[in-house]
C-alpha cells in the first residue's frame, strides 16, 4: 500500500494481484467506497495501461505502482486520515466475498463414490445414478452388490445390462427403477423431475415420466395424496425385460399398508408381459387402475382391475376408489365451451400442439385422432400419422419437442423454452392455425418460472396473428401443484392474463382444442378401430 507524497487531495491505492471479480462486484466496491466519509473519489479497476493513464489524467497519484493488466487496482482519494480505513474496507469486502464462495464450496462437496456416500449416510438404502449410459450399469451394479436399491436416471443403458441389473436386484429383494427413470416420489420425496404432492393412499407405477407427473399432480389437485410413485423405465414392459420392475413394484405396493389403491401407467406393453402383470395385479387384493395408453380396455378389464382411457381418467378413478366411491366408466367431462373465444377465419382449421412432455403428446395424438382426420405427430398413434417434416406443421400437428431431434445441443424444453417460443410465434403466423395447444410442467427439474418465458412469446404470437387480421386460440394445462417451487397459482394467473384457456388436464385441453376446430376441419370418418394390447 502506498501513499502519494502530495497531501491534498491525498491518494491511496492498493494493488490486489491476479484478482478477478465480476463487474457488478467492482461497481459495488467503487460505489461503497465513494460513500465513505472523507472519500471524494474511488475506483476499482483492472490495472491496464489505458486505465493507469486515465487515472493519472484524473490526478490520482499512483506513481510507483507495478500493477499489471491482471491485477485489480483500488484507488481512493480524499482526506488523508480517512483513506486507510477505506482501503481496509475494500480489502475486507473482497475477503468477505471469497469467504462466501469457499464456505459454500465446502458445504457443497458431495461424495465421489458410493462407498464414501455410505460413510456419510450409513443407513441409506437407495442410490440415484446419473452417469453416461455406458458407465451407469457398472455404478448401478456396485450399488446393488452393497444391498442398495437403485434409481437409474441415465439413458442409453444397453438392454442386456438392464436385464442383468434387474434380475440381480430381483434375486436379492431389491428394485432397479429405470434406466431412463425421470420421475419418482419415494416416501414423499420427489426425485429427478417430480412434483411436490401430498402423501396419501394412492401408489403409482409408471413407465412414463410425465405420465407419473400428471397422475400424481391430479391426485393431489383432487385432494388426496401419493404413497409412492415408482418409475420403471420405458422398456420395462418390453418382452426382453419382462416387466421385472413393474412386478417388483406391484409386489411392494401390494404389501405396503399405506397404499390402498394402485395405478399402473404405460404405453401398450408386450402382450405376454401385459397378461402376467395384469394377473399379478388381479391378485393384489387392492383395486388396481390400469392406463395402458391406446390399449383396448376390454383386454384389460378383470375383477379388481379398472381400465382407464386417459391419465386423467386413471387419476379420477383412483381417487374415487380411495374414497370408497364407485368409479365411473368414463370421466370424459362434457365441459362447456369457454366464453369469449375469438371468431376464427375460414381457413383457420387446425390444431398445433407443442409439447414438452412425450407422454402428453402421445395422449393428445390418441384423443385428437379419435375425432379428427389428418392428425400428424412425431409421436404418432398410427404409422401413417408420422410427421414427414417435424420442423413444419402439416394439418393437425402434435409435436414432442423433447424428441432428440430438437434437443441436440439444447436442454430439454421443460428447462429451455427458446425453441418452443419460436415455434409458438411461427404457428401463429400460419393462416391455417386455429388453436395452439401446449403443456406447462412444473416441479423439481423444470424451469424456475415457465410463465415468464412463455408469456412474452404468447404476446408476440397474438400480435403476429392480429397483424394478419386473425386471432389464435391458446389452450393449455399446467401439470403442477401449489407446493411446487414455481407455484401453480402464480403460473396459472400469468398464463390466463396472457389469454390462455387453461384446462385441468391434458385430456381436457385436447378435447377443448378438438371441439374448437371440429366442423371446420374434416372429422374422422368413423370411430377408430380399437387397438389390441400390443
Amino acid at each position: 500500500m502506498l501513499e502519494s507524497p502530495h497531501s491534498k487531495p491525498a491518494t491511496l491505492f492498493k494493488v490486489v494481484r491476479r484478482e478477478y471479480r465480476d463487474s457488478v462486484s467492482l461497481m459495488q466496491l467503487s460505489s461503497s467506497l465513494t460513500k465513505m466519509a472523507g472519500v471524494s473519489q474511488a475506483s476499482a479497476v483492472m490495472a491496464t495501461e489505458n486505465n493507469l493513464a486515465l487515472l493519472a489524467e484524473a490526478r490520482f497519484e499512483i506513481s510507483g505502482s507495478d500493477a499489471g493488466a491482471a491485477d485489480l487496482l483500488i484507488v481512493v482519494q480524499g482526506d488523508a486520515a480517512a483513506l486507510p480505513a477505506a482501503i481496509d474496507t475494500a480489502v475486507a469486502h473482497l475477503t468477505r466475498q471469497a469467504d462466501v464462495g469457499s464456505s459454500a464450496g465446502r458445504a457443497a462437496v458431495l461424495p465421489r463414490s458410493i462407498q464414501s456416500a455410505l460413510a456419510d449416510a450409513p443407513s441409506a438404502n437407495l442410490v440415484l445414478v446419473s452417469t453416461p449410459g455406458e458407465y451407469a450399469g457398472a455404478e448401478a451394479m456396485k450399488a446393488l452388490r452393497q444391498g442398495l436399491n437403485v434409481l437409474l436416471f441415465s439413458d442409453n443403458v444397453p438392454e442386456e445390462d438392464e436385464v442383468r441389473l434387474k434380475q440381480f436386484a430381483k434375486e436379492r429383494g431389491l428394485i432397479v427403477m429405470g434406466p431412463d427413470c425421470g420421475t419418482a416420489i419415494i416416501n414423499g420425496i420427489p426425485l429427478c423431475f417430480a412434483n411436490v404432492v401430498k402423501r396419501g393412499a394412492i401408489g403409482v407405477i409408471g413407465a412414463s415420466g410425465t405420465g407419473l407427473q400428471q397422475i400424481t399432480v391430479l391426485v393431489d389437485n383432487l385432494g388426496l395424496g401419493i404413497s409412492q410413485a415408482i418409475g420403471t423405465g420405458g422398456r420395462d414392459l418390453h418382452s426382453n425385460i419382462g416387466g421385472i420392475t413393474f412386478s417388483t413394484a406391484l409386489s411392494d405396493l401390494t404389501a405396503d399398508v399405506d397404499t390402498k389403491v394402485i395405478v399402473l401407467i404405460s404405453k401398450p406393453p408386450a402382450p405376454e408381459v401385459a397378461e402376467r402383470i395384469l394377473s399379478e395385479a388381479a391378485r393384489a387384493g387392492k383395486p388396481v387402475v390400469v392406463n395402458f395408453l391406446g390399449a383396448d380396455r376390454a383386454n384389460i378389464s378383470r375383477p379388481g382391475i379398472y381400465p382407464a382411457k386417459t391419465l386423467e381418467d386413471a387419476a379420477r378413478t383412483a381417487v374415487d376408489l380411495a374414497r370408497g366411491i364407485a368409479p365411473r366408466a368414463s370421466y370424459d367431462l362434457s365441459l362447456p365451451m369457454p366464453s369469449g373465444l375469438p371468431k376464427l377465419a375460414l381457413e383457420q382449421r387446425y390444431v398445433r400442439g407443442l409439447y414438452s412432455g412425450g407422454t402428453f403428446c402421445y395422449e393428445a395424438a390418441m384423443l385428437l385422432d379419435e375425432r379428427l382426420a389428418d392428425v400428424y405427430s412425431n409421436s404418432p398413434v398410427r404409422p401413417d400419422g408420422a410427421m414427414k417434416d417435424v420442423w413444419h406443421s402439416h394439418r393437425h400437428s402434435l409435436i414432442d419437442l423433447g424428441d432428440d431431434v430438437f434437443t441436440r445441443g439444447r436442454p430439454h424444453p421443460m428447462i429451455d423454452f427458446r425453441l418452443r417460443n419460436e415455434r409458438i410465434v411461427g404457428e401463429a403466423e400460419d393462416p391455417e392455425t386455429a388453436v395452439i395447444l401446449f403443456d406447462v410442467v412444473l416441479g423439481f427439474g423444470s424451469h424456475a418460472d415457465p410463465a415468464s418465458e412463455l408469456v412474452p412469446a404468447l404476446r408476440r404470437a397474438g400480435e403476429a396473428a392480429a397483424q394478419a387480421g386473425r386471432s389464435v386460440i391458446f389452450v393449455a394445462f399446467v401439470c403442477g401443484t401449489d407446493r411446487d417451487p414455481q407455484g401453480l397459482a402464480r403460473q396459472t394467473q400469468a398464463l390466463r392474463e396472457a389469454g390462455v384457456h387453461l384446462m385441468q388436464s391434458n385430456a381436457q385441453a385436447v378435447r377443448l382444442a378438438a371441439s374448437i376446430v371440429v366442423g371446420r376441419a374434416p372429422a374422422r370418418a368413423r370411430p377408430r378401430d380399437v387397438r389390441p394390447v400390443a
Partner: protein, 357 residues
Amino acid sequence: MHNGGVDYAERTVMAIVSATTVSASTLASRAAKHPCRVTACGIGFLVPLKLKNATVHSVFARACNIETQDGTLVTLLDYRLGNAPHGIACEVPDSFAFNSEIRPGTKVSVRDGELTLEQTALVVDLSRAVRWSGAPSQHAVDPTSRATRNSLAMIWRMLQDSSRSRGLFACWSLPNETASPLHAALLRRLAVCLPLLARGTVARDATTIVKALSAMIGLGIGLTPSGDDFIVGYLAALWSQSSRDATLPPLLGLLRAPLESMIAKTGAISRQLILDASAGQFSEPLVDLVRAIADGDDERVAITAARALRIGHSSGADALLGLLLGNDPRAFAASISNQPVSNQPVANQLESIALDA
C-alpha cells in the same frame, strides 16, 4: 422412446452417484442445489480438443475460466448465458454457482468425454454437447437498409433508456456537476477515440482504426474493461457485414495482427474475447442480435438486444455501443456529438491525449 423420463434423463443436472436415506434426506433438493455432475449442451467452435496442463484461472457464479498450457481460456458457462466461442455451455440449475464448487488453481483434465475438476465434486459430461459456431458473417447485415437503420435506432434508444449509469454510455449521461474527474478523463478520451474510429471505419483505414482501438483497449471499469467490450461489439458489426461488403474482409485481415499485438495491454479474459472476435467468433447473445438485425425483425432485435444488455454490469451495453458504431459510423458520430458533454472544455484538450499505439 420420447417420454419425459427418457429424453431429459441425460440432459439435466443430477447427482452422479449419491447414496441417501430415502426416508430422511432431501436428495432431490440436494441434487438440484449441489450437482456434482453436469451435462454440457454446447461447445464453442474454438474450444481446443485437448486441455493440456489446464488449471482454473478464475471463477464466478455463472462462469469458470480454465487456462490451458498455451494461455487459452476455455469457459464453463451456465447455459443461460448462451454459447461462446471458447465456452462450454453447462446445464446447471438456477441456484448453482460455479464459485461455490471450484477454486482458482484447481487442475482440470478431460478424458473419455468427461471434464474433471480435481478435488471438487464437479464432473462435466461433454459426450452430448454439440459444436457451436458464433460466426455472424453467415447473417449478412446491410447497414444501408431501412430495416437495419430502424434496428440500430431501436438499440440506441434501449441504451439511452437502460444504460445511463452503465459503462461508456454513462459518460454522456452524468450531469456536469456530478461527473468525477475520472469520468471527465474517460469522456475526453472517448471524445477523441470514437470520432477517430468512426472516420477510420468510413474510410476503411486500418491505421486509423488501430490507433483508435489501441487507445480504447483495457479502458474503463469492469473485469473486462468497457473499452474491450466495445471493441468486441465493433468487430461483430464489421464481421456481420463482411459477406456483402467486399472492402471488409481485407480490412479485417489487416486488423488481426495489430489486435493480436495490442491485447497484451489488457487482462486475460478480455484477451480471449478480443482474439475470438478478431477471428470472427462471438458469443451467442451477440450473434442472435446480429442475426435479428440481418433479418430486419424488429421484435427479435428488441428481445435479443435486451438479452445482450443483461450481460455483466456494463459489458452488454458497451458491446452494443461498439456494434452501433461498427454498423453506422456516421450516425454514431453524429449521435455522440449531440450528447451532453461534462466538464468542458473538451475540445482544447483533445490534442493532448496520447493516441499513439
